[in-house]
Amino acid sequence: MKNLKSKNPLLSVKGIAKSYGHVRALQNIDIDIHSGEVLGLLGDNGAGKSTLIKILSGIIRPDKGQIFRKGKEINILSRKDSEEKAGIQTIYQDIALVKSMSILRNIFAGQERKTKLGFLKLNEMRDTTMQILNDHVKIAGITSPDLLIEELSGGQAQAVAIARAVHFQRDILLLDEPTSALSVRETNKVHSIMREIADAGNSCVFVTHNLYHAFQVCDRFVVFSHGEVVKSSTKENTSLDELTDLILAN
């Protein structure tokens, strides 16, 4: 990890700012994301973590600042830009699934397998869904890809969202509190998925309130407070106590 700093970062944000009315959600944010690392984004409620995630995934636009991919400036104006130009897949804090649709249709929503005329290849999608559910996150209690999301528990639904993002993986995976609804087993699974992704040379950005989890899986930490970065450090150069103090300081 130590020599990563010298390399060109995979993605870097420079001077990002975003306000909602009178609330300065983010100010002057500089962050680098390197290949092969799991980066932990930490901070108290309302610190601005989700706002940064949303900017990177094209849901909202920053008021100021630049985003570079491998040194080249890019504009992320939409979810599509985020995926195609920045190479980002995102798992959101509020589960982004349609409750009245089946698991299968949710997994492929927006990226359906289809014929030239736009007809759905349902059989192909069903096979892939079974594979995704088996391979990535073995989810307890999911009996069929045709179950509706509203028939699942919160944790099962979250696991489906994770399985989807991992399946359509690009080289950066953003996870905004992905494990808050998951069981211990599922949480561990998500952690090992993040590790696998990083070890394969891609990167993960992990937002969590659980410092123990963060310390377990992350290689580097960025701590937010009131919309600003107050600390950026590798795992070797910090400790659980220091991070706890930083988050509680304000």
Binding site: S57, I59, S78, R79, K80, E83, T90, Y92, D94, I95, A96, L97, V98, K99, S100, M101, R105, F108, A109, G110, Q111, E112, K114, G118, F119, L120, L122, D127, M130, Q131, L133, N134, K138, A140, G141, T143, S144
Partner: protein
């Protein structure tokens, strides 16, 4: 791979739902069940008392097949739009105006198909307007289309000056749209079924339909997975208007008289048919089969009331009860199964 999957299925505590329970829990389950019961009862009663209850008589079957498609085709459009989470109260007005435009263009000496295209264009334009205003300015479609309902109606009077047009379309067109096959089958009904099948395919087997349901079910998450919510909704508004135009054209060419004054409350009858058919007012839920059966039920009950020589207000009473109890039952069924 899938073997492993099934193994993990067996190891869990989930009770497999029976086919019947699954069917009842589906959005259209209850209405289809009630429909089949009513149909069966009517047929039996009609066989026992063929003179007093002429349900199975040829004239009655023809009347039903002429009446159902107008509401049915319009409701399919309204239903698709409701599934995307929006309303269209202007369908009745579009229905009246577009038919008038077709007759006007045709009476001016143009070929009938030019008239049909003109009518479709009118529908498409109002669909685009409804959709564009609703999605661009974040106005509830209930309000947008309430506005366009009045605008289109008054526009219609302006165009028509309240003078009806009397016209005779070419025979081939009349036969194609409103003729009879094999003695018992009305073409209107055939078109209704064809349109229902097309709508079913769009909704269940096409990417567009997937996006309709997704957008209606959760707009935020649809945006997040990259679905263009605005485009999807505008398309649904346009399809809804097109259905109203088709229903409008079909309903005037048999009689050959058209005025722009649509039957009042048509738009609400469509919403009623959709709700009976299990379409959720909140979007994201509903089936074409349900909507079609909802529309059929509407006229079936009307028919029973006429055949049984019951007071006409029984229809409204029935529709009211079905909406209140039907929706409650659906809610209960969803929890139970």
């Amino acid at each position: 791979m899938s073997g492993e999957y099934t193994n993990s299925l067996k190891a869990n505590r989930y009770i497999q739902k029976g086919l019947f329970d699954r069917f009842r829990a589906s959005p259209a389950g209850n209405v289809i069940l009630v429909f089949l019961l009513v149909l069966l009862t009517c047929s039996i009663v009609s066989l026992i008392y063929p003179d007093n209850f002429r349900f199975l008589s040829k004239p009655n079957l023809i009347i039903l097949q002429r009446a159902i498609p107008t509401l049915g085709i319009m409701s399919i459009g309204v239903g698709i739009l409701m599934i995307t989470g929006e309303f269209d109260l202007s369908v009745g007005a579009v229905f009246g105006l577009s038919a008038y435009i077709m007759a006007m263009v045709y009476s001016a000496g143009m070929p009938i198909l030019v008239g049909v295209i003109a009518a479709l264009l009118v529908g498409i334009i109002f669909g685009l307007i409804n959709g564009w205003i609703t999605t661009s300015f974040g106005i509830p479609s209930f309000i947008t289309t309430l506005g366009t309902l009045f605008i289109i109606r008054s526009g219609g009077r302006l165009v028509s000056d309240n003078v009806p047009i009397i016209f005779q379309v070419p025979d081939w067109f009349k036969t194609l749209m409103t003729g009879r096959m094999l003695g018992y089958i009305q073409m209107q009904f055939v078109w209704f079924i064809i349109i229902a099948i097309i709508a079913w395919i769009i909704l269940n087997r096409h990417t567009i339909g997937n996006h309709f349901i997704s957008v209606g079910g959760n707009q935020m998450s649809s945006t997040q997975v990259g679905i263009n919510v605005k485009k999807t909704k505008i398309l649904a508004f346009v399809l809804c208007s097109i259905c109203a135009v088709i229903a409008g054209i079909m309903s005037v060419i048999r009689v050959g008289v058209v005025n722009t004054d649509a039957k009042p409350l048509m738009e609400l009858e469509c919403v009623a048919a959709c709700v009976m058919g299990g379409v959720a007012l909140t979007g994201g839920r509903g089936s074409i089969v349900g909507v079609a059966v909802g529309a059929i039920m509407f006229h079936l009950v009307k028919d029973i009331i006429i055949l049984g020589k019951l007071p006409a207000y029984y229809l409204e009473l029935f529709i009211g009860l079905v909406i209140v109890f039907g929706v409650t039952l659906n809610q209960i069924a969803k929890k139970k199964y």
